[in-house]
């Protein structure tokens, strides 16, 4: 069962940003080994205020303002993890993660394996990612494929407040390193958060809208876009299924395959460029697992294979409701 999020009580309504803050707070309370580190996360509470108030309540020893050096932030977090801590580091923006790339892919990702499990890396690297906020360059990127391609890393993305609250805690509790992608343009969108619920497993996808004619696969910021597209399609009498993958690596192919076997048509949607993006992996895996169920090739909607454009052009670059529905039309025309 993919929809295991229970919702017995109404919970609290809050933004995704506040939900992340509440999740981090709960993780700090639950385990004294959890430490937060990053640029401006202390007094300021981070440039997006995700860590607001945490340094005041948990102290400078546990909520650490780091020098302005991403490789240093991740590299020292490796050392803290070796010492038994569970570091949660914030990379201020997606485009700033690359100075830490060696530490992430050559050190964090490999440490557990090369030490034969003797040196685990229970680390979370939080990255606000994606576009749609009219930012200058290097502030709107979607680097998930780099990390999903790397053995040893797990990569997840939340799409709503409730998942944000639960998934950040689950990622922190996990003994594997997790790249935690936060859709920055959805930080201010509100949702119900039930703090007493039993959350779905971290790496489980969720069917967020049931349908029969085609499956939309998305994660992070594109889940809402796909839900909007499915709503518009419904007005024209088309029933689209929407799956929030939640986990980019590993992929929950069981939930995906169940849907594809029902609908026979798939459109993958992400902001990242399509070339060698998650859509490519999904298309390959779906073809391998669901070949006889497919009525059309798996189609991909994503960013172009260009550098992220200046803000005035990002509406062309980013998949929107119309581009998703255009792909659905093409799929249905086979």
């Amino acid at each position: 069962m993919s929809q295991s999020q229970t919702s017995t009580s109404a919970g609290r309504r809050m933004t995704m940003g506040k939900a992340l803050n509440a999740g981090l707070r709960r993780a700090l309370e639950a385990d004294p080994k959890v430490v937060l580190a990053g640029e401006d996360i202390g007094k300021l509470g981070g440039v997006f205020r995700i860590t607001e108030g945490l340094q005041k309540d948990f102290g400078e020893d546990r909520v650490i303002d780091s020098p302005l050096a991403e490789s240093g932030i991740v590299g020292t977090a490796v050392g803290m993890a070796m010492r038994g801590y569970r570091p949660v580091v914030e990379i201020q923006f997606d485009g700033f993660v690359y100075p830490a790339y060696n530490q992430i892919v050559a050190q964090v990702a490999k440490m557990h394996h090369r030490s034969r499990g003797l040196v685990p890396m229970p680390m979370v690297i939080r990255i606000p990612f994606g576009g749609g906020i009219g930012a200058v360059e290097h502030h709107s990127e979607s680097p998930e494929a780099y990390f999903a391609h790397t053995a040893g890393l797990k990569v997840v993305s939340c799409s709503n407040a409730s998942d944000a609250y639960w998934m950040i805690q689950q990622a922190i509790a996990l003994d594997d390193p997790v790249i935690f992608l936060e859709p920055k343009r959805r930080y201010h969108e509100k949702g119900e958060v039930d703090e007493d619920a039993t959350p779905a497993p971290l790496h489980r996808a969720r069917v967020v809208r049931e349908g029969t004619e085609a499956t939309l696969l998305a994660y992070g910021p594109m889940v809402k876009t796909c839900l909007d597209a499915a709503e518009a399609a419904a007005e024209e009498g088309r029933a689209l299924e929407v799956i929030d993958l939640r986990s980019v690596s590993p992929l929950d192919m069981q939930t995906v395959a169940t849907s594809v076997q029902k609908t026979g048509r798939v459109v993958t949607v992400h902001e990242a460029p399509v070339n060698l993006g998650l859509g490519a992996e999904l298309a390959a895996r779906i073809t391998e697992q669901c070949f006889y169920s497919l009525e059309a090739p798996v189609l991909r909607v994503g960013g172009f294979d260009t550098p992220y454009p200046p803000a005035r052009l990002e509406d062309h670059y980013l998949p929107d409701l119309d581009r998703v529905l255009d792909a659905v039309d093409r799929s249905l025309s086979y």
Partner: protein, 370 residues
């Protein structure tokens, strides 16, 4: 004219000259007995023998590659013997002498270079983390670990059994890396109990120290706000004295130190390298006169602490060690292919489990079907 990065300069801490004469230094002294010095000599002779055997094994095709420590024995044994049991080491990939001081079986080092594993010792038990091959990355791990020690209250208790420090080893080439400079920033900012131990062996593969730095490396520490010291890296007494003081400074909560051990890579960068293409024999000869082992032998012989019989016994011990190492290396079992799939994650992913099962089935098909 300012001090040149490649000349040993006037501020080199030395307690034992290349001729084997003890000399005084205003700030550092070696207080150990001649027996202790003889123990350092034994360490240096044994690790040089291990190194020679590993080089031979590589030449015979038994190791994929080897990173020789030849010439750097004093830097590594002096620093390694300065450690207390609670101190923690973050090496690069040439610290076979420090590994020896941490009781890491040399065979485990060979495992990495033979290709049977990616580092076969227990880093926590040895307090000696795995070799780091990407240059300089380990200095950040050391700094983070030291920050953890500080959080855990393992620093500045005035308790010699408890107070701990971290030491990170790297070379002159590594000082150009961003990670090393970032580790200096973090260590300084958080006053972390870490000693940065740079073995300046004058060469980063083919590039001389002048390509990395226009000033002596130890003076870089000034810019980061902590002390830097240059020590004769071929003088085991001076290295031990300087490192002990830096470790104590760290353990007592006074923060990081950069030690530049001024030494020389007598061999190639690795067994794949050919130093005749880029450096002169004259230079090698000049450094041969500063050999770290010969000066200790000269001192101890003159002091009457060792004699020919002692040296012969040591020779026999080192040869026996080499024979044992060779035999164990040649009989080291190849790993099971399952090791490739295991421990990639603490919780293996379904897709990787599928790949592992499929590959097992595929290999099994060759064993049965025909």
């Amino acid at each position: 004219m300012s001090e040149h990065s490649g000349s040993s300069g006037g501020e080199l801490v030395q307690l034992l000259t290349p001729q084997g004469e003890r000399i005084d230094h205003p700030d550092f002294s070696y207080s150990g007995s001649d027996d202790e010095i003889a123990a350092h000599l034994r360490d240096m002779v044994l690790v040089r023998r291990i190194d020679a055997e590993a080089t031979a094994l590589q030449r015979q095709g038994e190791l994929g590659i080897w990173t020789s420590l030849l010439g750097q024995e004093a830097a590594q044994i002096g620093a390694g013997r300065a450690l207390r049991s609670q101190d923690v080491v973050f090496p690069s990939y040439r610290e076979h002498g420090v590994a020896w001081c941490r009781d890491v079986d040399p065979l485990r080092l060979l495992g990495l270079f033979r290709g049977v594993d990616l580092g076969g010792w227990d880093p926590h038990a040895a307090k000696f983390f795995l070799y780091a091959i990407v240059i300089g990355a380990q200095t950040l791990h050391a700094t983070g670990y030291a920050m953890g020690l500080e959080k855990d209250g393992e620093v500045g208790n005035n308790d010699p059994e408890r107070d701990a420090a971290v030491i990170s080893y790297f070379g002159d080439g590594a000082t150009s890396q961003g990670d090393v400079n970032e580790s200096f920033v973090f260590a300084s900012s958080y006053n972390a109990p870490v000693v940065f131990f740079c073995q300046n062996n004058q060469w980063a593969i083919s590039e001389p120290i002048e390509r990395q730095s226009r000033i002596p490396l130890y003076r870089r520490a000034d810019g980061f706000g902590f002390p830097g010291i240059r020590v004769d890296g071929n003088d085991v007494l001076a290295v031990k004295a300087v490192t002990e003081q830096a470790l104590e400074r760290a353990r007592s909560g006074n923060g990081p130190t950069l030690i530049e051990a001024f030494t020389y890579r007598m061999g190639a960068h690795t067994t794949s390298d050919d130093p005749t293409k880029y450096r002169l024999d004259d230079e090698l000869e000049q450094w041969r006169g500063k050999d770290p082992i010969e000066r200790v032998k000269a001192y101890l012989s003159r002091a009457g602490a060792i004699d020919q019989a002692w040296l012969e016994e040591l020779q026999a011990e080192s040869d026996a060690l080499a024979v044992r190492l060779r035999e164990d290396c040649l009989t080291m079992p190849d790993p099971d292919v399952a090791a490739s799939f295991e421990n990639v994650y603490a919780e293996q992913t379904p897709y990787l489990a599928e790949q592992q099962a499929a590959y097992a089935e595929y290999t099994a098909s060759f064993e049965e079907g025909n």
